[in-house]
């Protein structure tokens, strides 16, 4: 869908082995960098993006024209200071902003669509490690991520323990819960129930499952907010009208807001990518990959960890972060953990929470 955009990409020289047993040939990883790489290459920070994020971390998004998704955190003089650090952010495999995903062309010249192999979070990290190899970055100063990005950061620490000296995992979890999987399934079913989905084979066919993808985004978006935040922002206020319509228009402001979120999303995201990436998150369980014990996963790490949760996040609540912290303690890893107070729910890591700025800057400095 975005083939025409001039993304900066790296073609991995070797086939990418996947957890499913399949292999991805000629995978391309689209990425952006900010700040200069030091001569000793010791100042590299990898930022991993969330489910519908991308590599445009601190520069304008090429489709929406909006500022980068973590512009407030990454830049000169900011908590992740690009005057000091070389920041790398890549589009994960399976996604749709330049990295190889279901919308990309398979070796036979047709889009993969549902022929794209099912991937995992660890597969995404394999792709990122492949990119780091190509960039000549043997060991990161820090790997950072929020939400799905935090899963990648933890996966990198567990599976490539020598590749990062510091690991910063924000608003995340070491495994997807039944509730997490349930919400994702609602989204996937909405996409696949859209007649325009056409079994995933909608590329170049004039219609794409925008309605389904939009509903998926609306359902997910609710999980990113808090009840307190929604109530404060919308309450039961009506949208552009004095009275209820006794129909199914968006009477309430909150309905109108969700529809806006859904319709904006389909402009920039591929429905099949949404299926593959949510699947990867649902399969995510670091303990399961390491004999059932999370502490075992981190036994070999030499990294320092910082885990941050938000008190209003009910998608990945503090208990999930504590679970990670206890495992890190049991593994003897140096770990910091703080539950920050913020009203914005799961999305707090993207929004204005000055305490998060202080924690991140302090962790990178210490």
């Amino acid at each position: 869908m975005n083939a025409a955009l001039p993304h900066r990409t790296c073609r991995l020289p070797a086939p990418l082995p996947l957890d499913s047993g399949q292999v991805l040939e000629g995978a391309e990883i689209a990425y952006e960098t900010y700040g200069e790489l030091a001569a000793d290459k010791g100042n590299a920070i990898l930022v991993c993006h969330a489910l519908t994020g991308d590599q445009y971390l601190a520069s304008p998004h090429p489709i929406t024209g909006k500022p980068g998704w973590w512009e407030r955190m990454v830049g000169p003089g900011k908590p992740i200071d690009t005057d000091r650090f070389h920041v790398v952010c890549a589009n994960v495999i399976g996604s749709c902003l330049g990295s190889t995903g279901p919308a990309s062309l398979a070796p036979d010249g047709a889009p993969y669509a549902m022929r794209f192999p099912v991937i995992t979070i660890r597969d995404m990290v394999r792709g990122l490690v492949g990119l780091l190899d190509e960039l000549g970055i043997a060991r990161l100063h820090t790997v950072v991520g929020g939400s799905m990005g935090g899963m990648q950061a933890l996966s990198l620490a567990a599976n490539w323990p020598d590749r990062a000296a510091r690991v910063l995992a924000i608003a995340t979890t070491a495994r997807h819960s039944a509730q997490n999987i349930a919400f994702h399934e609602v989204g996937r079913q909405a996409i696949m129930a859209d007649p325009a989905w056409q079994g995933g084979d909608y590329y170049g066919k004039g219609a794409s499952p925008d309605a389904g993808l939009s509903v998926a985004r609306m359902a997910a978006h609710i999980t990113y907010l808090s009840e307190e935040g929604l109530t404060e922002k919308f309450g039961r206020r009506l949208q552009d009208r004095e009275a209820k319509s006794f129909g199914f228009d968006a009477d309430f402001q909150v309905e109108s807001y969700l529809r806006y979120q859904g319709s904006g999303f389909v402009q920039r995201f591929d429905a099949n990518s949404y299926l593959y990436i949510t699947r990867a998150m649902d399969y995510f369980d670091i303990a399961e990959e390491h004999g059932g014990l999370l502490a075992t996963a981190f036994a070999g790490t030499g990294a320092r960890f910082c885990v941050v949760s938000f008190d209003s996040d009910w998608l990945y609540p503090t208990a999930e972060s504590r679970h990670v912290v206890h495992a890190l303690n049991a593994a003897g890893a140096p770990v910091s953990f703080v539950e920050l107070s913020a009203p914005f729910g799961h999305d707090s890591f993207l929004l204005d929470v000055p305490a998060l700025d202080r924690v991140i800057a302090g962790f990178l400095d210490g």
């Binding site: 303690n329 049991a330 003897g332 140096p334 910091s336 703080v338 539950e339 202080r358 400095d365």
Partner: protein
């Protein structure tokens, strides 16, 4: 440069070996941990229940976990630390006896400091006024205090004995100055003990 430490913390800091692995339980804003890291090169870790204090520790670059020591010490392996520190926190524990046992499970040695409820001003306050004392050192009224297990020097020594814990050293303080052990149960406003597992 770290700020001046409270006398009991300074006494602890002076006794922690170079490069030791240290866990400070109830580490507050991390002043002791930072001093230990800078002056002694210790592997410094902390647990603190107050999120605002943890945030300050992390911003200082310390490895501090927000958590409840009553619950979270169990997640540390046996003997993970050379030294465990519990300063002015024993009296807030749900079960101080369990807390001591946990301290000496995760640490080979422990430093424990606490306000001495047998201090003469406390006794005088109870005796003369018949009310729970509110002092400079224990400034909160009985109904709001986090100190739920008031303890005296004698009580602590008896508990250590009952738990089979060896008392290696003891220090006593009144009004931020060290006082002699003679009559400490009367004279000391607060006490610091260095304890170890009996072999």
């Amino acid at each position: 440069m770290a700020e001046a430490l409270r006398p009991d913390l300074a006494a602890i800091a002076a006794r922690v070996p170079q490069g030791a692995r240290v866990l400070d339980v109830g580490c507050g804003d991390g002043a002791l941990l930072e001093s230990l890291r800078q002056e002694r090169g210790v592997d410094a870790r902390g647990i603190e229940i107050d999120g605002a204090l943890v945030e300050r520790c992390v911003a200082r670059g310390l490895s501090v976990v927000q958590g409840d020591a009553d619950r979270d010490l169990t997640f540390y392996p046996d003997g993970a630390f050379d030294v465990a520190i519990l300063s002015q926190t024993l009296q807030t524990a749900a079960r101080p006896d369990h807390m001591l046992a946990e301290l000496l499970r995760v640490g080979r040695r422990a430093f424990v400091s606490f306000p001495n409820f047998a201090y003469w001003r406390m006794r005088w306050s109870l005796l003369s006024r018949g009310r729970m004392p509110v002092t400079r050192h224990l400034p909160v009224s009985w109904y709001a205090t986090a100190n739920i297990h008031h303890v005296t020097v004698k009580d602590f020594e008896e508990l250590a004995d009952a738990l089979g814990i060896a008392i290696e050293n003891r220090w006593f303080f009144t009004r931020e100055r060290e006082v002699s052990p003679t009559g400490a149960n009367w004279r000391a406003e607060y006490a610091l003990f260095e304890v170890s597992r009996k072999a």
